[in-house]
Amino acid sequence: MSAETASKGRAGGRELLDALVTTLIAKGYRVMGPRREGAALQLEPIDDVDQLPWAVVDAQGPGRYRLEQYEQPVAFAHGPLAFSMRRLVSPPEERLVTLRRKGAELAVEPAAVHARPTAVIGAKGCDLRALRAQDAVFRDGAHPDPRYVARREALFTVAVACHRPADTCFCVSRGGDVRPDPDDADLLLTELVSASPRYLLEASSDRGREVLEAMPGDAIGEDDRVRASGQDHAAREAMVRALPREAAQAALLAAEETEDFEAVAERCLACQSCTAVCPTCFCLTVEEEPSYDGQASTRVRRRDSCFSPDFSYMHGGAVRGSRAGRYRHWMRHKLATWSGQWGLDGCVGCGRCTTWCPAGIDFVAEATRHIQRQEET
C-alpha cells in the first residue's frame, strides 16, 4: 500500500481496533488501554480488544466516581481514567544511583535506565497536553532527565477524540479540545458511536504512519468526517464546566493571603490525592535507602506533593506550615504561577482533582469563587 493511502488513514469496524492492537504488539510495543480494574477504569496492559471497557462508562462528580452501563457498545465513552499517562513517563518511584564506601572514599554506581516501548490506546487530549507539561520540566530544560527522555521516546500514543466528556471535564476552557491536537500523538482515533461503531484512524507522525501502513482497512470517507465533526461539536456543547484561563490566573495571582484559603482548608484533608492524580504535577523528592551495614546507600526518587508539610521544611519548620498555605500553593501553582515557570498551562482541565478528592472539594467551584471575588472588587 502506498504512503499516500496510509496518510489518508483507515476506517473500519471493531476489527480495525483488533488490527491496531495486533500491529502494535507485532512492532514490539506493550499495549495499554482503558480497562476495568475493580470499581474504576485504569490504564492497563491489553492484548485483546475484548479487554476494553465495552459499554461501560464512568459517572464522575466531586468526590464521586461510579461505573455504569452504557446504551451503546462502544469502548471510549468514558472520561479521564483515574491515573493518567504520567505514571508511564514519571514512575512513582525509581532508583537513581547507589553510593558505596570504598575505603575512605565513595564510589558512584548509576542505576540502569529502563524504557519499555509502550503504546497507549485511547490517550485523551487533556492527558496528551499534560505530557507537554511534563516534557517542559523533564526534557526541554537545561538538565534533561535521561530516564524521562528514554521513556518518553519509547511511548507511542494513539489519541482518541472524546465524544462523551465526564461531568467534571473542562478542557475546552483551558485551551484544549475534545479532539486532541494531532501533533501531540502518533495516531488519532475517532470512535463513531452507533449500535455497530465505526473507527477512523489517522497518522500524525512517522511512527504512526508506519503502523498504519502495516494495517488493512477502508479509506476514510467524506461521510465519516461529517459524522466525526458532528460528534466533536456535540461533545464540546455537552461540556458545560469552564474555568477561563486569564480570569483564573488574574484572580489567583491576586489571592495572596492564606486567609483567602482558610475556608477550603477547613475541608481539605491534605491527603495528597489531587496531586497524585493530576497529570501535570511533577514534584519529586529523593530519599535514601541505606544498606543494612551502612556501607552503601541507594538514592530513590519518589513522587512528592506540596500538601506534605515536609515539602517546604527549612531549619526547624515548614515554610508552608498551615493547610491554607499549602492549598493556596497548589491552586496558585496550577492556575497562576505555572505559566511563568514553564511557558504553558498548569491545568489541562481533566477534572481528576475534583473526582478523586475524598472531601469532594470542587476545584472549579473553588477557583470560580476567587474569580467572582476579583470581579466584585
Binding site: A104, E105, G141, D145, V149, E257, V286, P290, M314, T337
Partner: protein, 273 residues
C-alpha cells in the same frame, strides 16, 4: 546518552579548615577544572543521609580548587562537617544564578553579609579582587551573632589590611574579650562611605536581615534595582524538577538563588509563600 544530572561526582578532600565551632571549609581538587560563577551552589551528599544545597565559597578564577563552607545545623550538614581530609566529597552542580559581577563593572560594590551568608559572597569578593581594576570602591560589611561565629577570619584580616577594600565587622553580642564593633550589620551601613548613585549592593544572610538591609540601603539613597540578594528554600534537585524550592512562581534553584531585589521583594512580604 545525555548527561545524567542526578549522578554526582566524588572528589577527595585535600584540605579542611575549622572556621568556627560549627562551621568548616572543605577543599577538593577536581580532576577537571570546576568552572562556576560566583553565587552558584552545589548539591553536596552525605552517605545514607541525603543531599543539601551549599554555595561555592572559593575563587572562580581558580577552578582547580573547589571550596565549600558549611555550618553543621542538622542531619546532612553534621555528617558533611565531620568529613576529614582523604574522604570523598560527593558533588552535583554547579547550579543557579550568580551575583551580577558583569553588571557591577565600573561601579562601587557594597557587600553585606550575615553569618554563613558570607560564603557565597566570598567567591564574589575573590573575583572582584582578582579583577580589581574593573571595579570602583569595595566595601564589605559583615555581621555575626557573636565573635565566635565569625567565618573567614583570615580573609577578613587580609582584606581589611588592604588600602582598596573597606571592611567593617560587627557582632550582635560580643564576648568579654571582643573589642570590635557591636550591633546589627544594618547599623553599619550608615557609617560606610559610598556613593548611592554608583553602587551595586550584594546581600546574603537570614531573610529578616536582608529585608532590614534593603530598607537601610533605600534610606541611604539606593534604588531597589541596585540591590541583589540570595534566597533559600528546601531543595531536592537543584535543577528545577522537584518543585521544593518554589517561592510563588520562582524556582529558586533555577531562577535564583541570586535575585535582583525588586523581583522578589513582593514575594518576600507574603506569609508562608
Amino acid at each position: 546518552m545525555t548527561h545524567d544530572p542526578f549522578i554526582p561526582t566524588p572528589h577527595r578532600i585535600v584540605e579542611k579548615r575549622q572556621e568556627t565551632l560549627d562551621t568548616v571549609t572543605l577543599v577538593v581538587e577536581p580532576e577537571t577544572p570546576f568552572v562556576f560563577a560566583p553565587g552558584q551552589f552545589n548539591m553536596l551528599y552525605a552517605l545514607g543521609r541525603g543531599e543539601v544545597p551549599i554555595s561555592i565559597s572559593g575563587d572562580p578564577g581558580e577552578p582547580s580548587r573547589l571550596v565549600h563552607t558549611l555550618r553543621a545545623v542538622g542531619l546532612v550538614t553534621d555528617a558533611l562537617a565531620a568529613l576529614e581530609v582523604g574522604a570523598s566529597l560527593v558533588v552535583r552542580g554547579p547550579f543557579g544564578s550568580s551575583w551580577p559581577v558583569e553588571e557591577a563593572k565600573g561601579h562601587d560594590v557594597l557587600i553585606v553579609a550575615g553569618g554563613i551568608g558570607l560564603a557565597p559572597l566570598r567567591s564574589t569578593i575573590l573575583h572582584i579582587l582578582r579583577h580589581r581594576e574593573d571595579y570602583g570602591r569595595l566595601a564589605i560589611l559583615y555581621g555575626a551573632r557573636t565573635d565566635h561565629d565569625l567565618c573567614f577570619a583570615d580573609d577578613l584580616h587580609e582584606w581589611g589590611g588592604r588600602f582598596d577594600v573597606e571592611v567593617r565587622v560587627t557582632v550582635d553580642r560580643g564576648s568579654p574579650a571582643w573589642r570590635g564593633r557591636q550591633g546589627v550589620v544594618t547599623a553599619v551601613i550608615d557609617k560606610t562611605d559610598f556613593d548611592p548613585a554608583r553602587t551595586v549592593a550584594m546581600v546574603c544572610g537570614p531573610e529578616v536581615m536582608m529585608r532590614h538591609t534593603a530598607r537601610a540601603l533605600r534610606a541611604a539613597g539606593m534604588k531597589d534595582e541596585q540591590v541583589y540578594l540570595t534566597l533559600e528554600r528546601n531543595m531536592k534537585c537543584g535543577i528545577g524538577q522537584c518543585g521544593h524550592c518554589q517561592l510563588g512562581g520562582e524556582l529558586i534553584c533555577r531562577d535564583g538563588p541570586v535575585y535582583p531585589y525588586p523581583r522578589v521583594a513582593p514575594l518576600m512580604r507574603i506569609r508562608e509563600l
